[in-house]
Symmetry: C2
């Protein structure tokens, strides 16, 4: 007898490291920076940043918010940590305490705030708008900068909107905008345009620095071809119970599934409270390894907070305590996200936040 | 000038307490238990459990996993903490260390594990299946229990599938099943059938104990009528930038929004990395309080990890640093979840997990 109750989140650090090295090699001689915002997409920024710093020589990191960078600054003593959301009153103390945090300035008001802050010892980055219409100086705002203003910056950057679609017109549009604006306002300055997706676009998209995030975590950021990245994340949970589902019976909240014939069901100890999207209700897949082979089951009924129910009719030898695979090398976060109607970025960012997992770092 | 960068999650403990008291009064004389699993739906189990223990005399709590209960057991020294996912090898130590953790046993194999565990000093609960087809002893398994087995338990419980639909046939089906099975196998034992939704069904649904979760957190679990609960959760984020969006320009990843006329846009410092569902892309609402009135804006383009972009054309007086409201008393988690195509349970469970929020407990 084997009774287990807790879901497991397994993070393969060796694969993550391999992915980083592969991307860095592809982008060379551009400097590889690691994007560890959002707690390294949920995988643990302190662990990931320290790993890349120690094992791969990474010396440049990107976070979204200053406190995120502050948390691992001590583990990465010579690294520069760029802060994408920039600096404000609510992060000033953080920047003051940690001189290696470098704000990315995205609008004139924030630049004014930076100049008045009195903080020194670092050259901020400037984000410029090239087509995404998100954060960044618009061209009229760039034209209004003084020469002194422009000399404040140590990096000029922008971000692609459609880098995951190789032939999207937006890519050509953005690279042209970027190079023109850079040449006009920041000639000679260190430049960065691409995240993981842009690495695969090659050539001019690499500029001087690439920002490696999603693909490093195993996500296919070039979905127009087979994924070249190694999978980093696996999610497992134990079978809590196996039961007969009589013909005509309903399953789960709001009775959204009805058995058209007698079924065998397994109740698995994971739910949306663990970050499994509720949109997998009645569509998601669950895998089992029984009798030496891999079997696929379907989630039936609604995903609830702590459990999913799946149809295991025909999967013999399945027992209470056996492991259900919700994400794995053979059913990657990209696959799960597709079934859930979202992207793997959102999926792994959710999964990783949850504290009920037995979280295991493997591979090193 | 007012520059801010961080999102804020505000939790109104006074409203939570009022909700608990209102539900407890509705269910009296049934014992009110508080469901604080999934870190109190993301709001902080330690804070919520301690509050209800100290201010409302709550002495019974429900969590999903044993480590969740262990975390606040010290703050609630006389409370019983039921563990819905039960007991297994991976939680045995937790139960051994914390005798006030009480497993909910949901299948014969787990009962066997409990009996072999050698743990004493508490009477587990038994979960029985009445129509949800999730965790719980099926009738043939109940019939197979010995008299000694049945005497092990201190509580018999089940869970409603459709309690949020007042006239759903499943409610009558489940209460009949529950009372019949209870009478047959556990006559005289303490009984619990209903969570928040069942409290509003009244009468027989209250049994001896109700398990107050969602409605306590402000969610409308009786959506066939106006919500009677007070809102507990507000989400705010600062405007990082305001920009002109030229006619014909695209917004955000994959260029899913195109401006059919010139617009004014605001970039707000919150995204799916903070738990805001990406399914709000191009449909979600954002509110501003400017010039003494409340204005509504629409999210345009895709929600990204750290930012949303919204159309603020026509909202005059809006400035960088102003507050955007993503959830509030006037746009509750139920409203946000409806727009996102999910339920508030999933929404608040996600929001509350995120560590980038400036988290504020107010109201007490």
């Amino acid at each position: 007898m084997h009774i287990l109750t807790r879901p497991i989140l397994e993070i393969n650090l060796n694969n993550l490291l391999d992915n980083y090295r592969m991307l860095a090699a592809l982008a060379a001689p551009a400097v590889p920076a690691a994007v560890v915002k959002d707690d390294a997409y949920g995988l643990g920024a302190a662990v990931v940043a320290k790993l890349l710093y120690q094992k791969a020589g990474c010396r440049t990191f990107f976070v979204a918010h200053a406190p995120e960078g502050q948390k691992f600054a001590g583990e990465t003593p010579e690294a520069q940590i760029y802060v994408l959301q920039g600096i404000g009153e609510d992060s000033l103390a953080c920047f003051a305490n940690t001189p290696r945090l470098i704000p990315v300035i995205s609008c004139p008001q924030m630049l004014e705030f930076w100049k008045q802050s009195g903080l020194g010892g670092r050259k901020p980055a400037i984000q410029i708008e090239t087509g995404l219409n998100r954060l960044g100086f618009r061209e009229d705002e760039l034209a209004a900068l003084s020469d002194d203003d422009r000399r404040l910056f140590g990096l000029v950057m922008s971000h692609l909107a459609c880098g995951d679609e190789k032939d999207h017109f937006m890519n050509a549009h953005q690279i042209e905008n970027f190079e023109r604006l850079k040449q006009t306002y920041f000639a000679g300055l260190l430049a960065s345009l691409s995240a993981s997706d842009g690495v695969f676009l090659g050539g001019r998209f690499h500029q001087n620095m690439v920002r490696l995030g999603a693909a490093m975590y195993g996500i296919n950021t070039a979905p127009y071809r087979q994924n070249q990245m190694k999978n980093v994340i696996s999610v497992m949970a134990p079978v809590l119970q196996i039961a007969r589902l009589p013909k005509g019976d309903f399953v789960g909240y709001s009775a959204t599934y009805r058995a058209s014939s007698e079924r065998k069901i397994a109740i698995v100890s994971i739910g949306y409270g663990d970050g499994l999207p509720r949109s997998l209700s009645n569509v998601g897949k669950v895998f089992f390894k029984t009798g030496g082979k891999l079997s696929e089951a379907r989630i039936i009924g609604r995903v609830s907070m702590d459990n999913v129910i799946c149809d295991v009719t025909g999967i013999s030898e399945l027992a209470v305590g056996d492991t259900a695979y919700l994400a794995a090398d053979f059913y990657t976060p990209d696959d799960v996200a597709r079934d859930a109607g979202t992207i793997a970025y959102e999926l792994i960012s959710r999964l990783g936040k949850n504290t009920r997992f037995d979280r295991r770092y493997i591979g090193l």
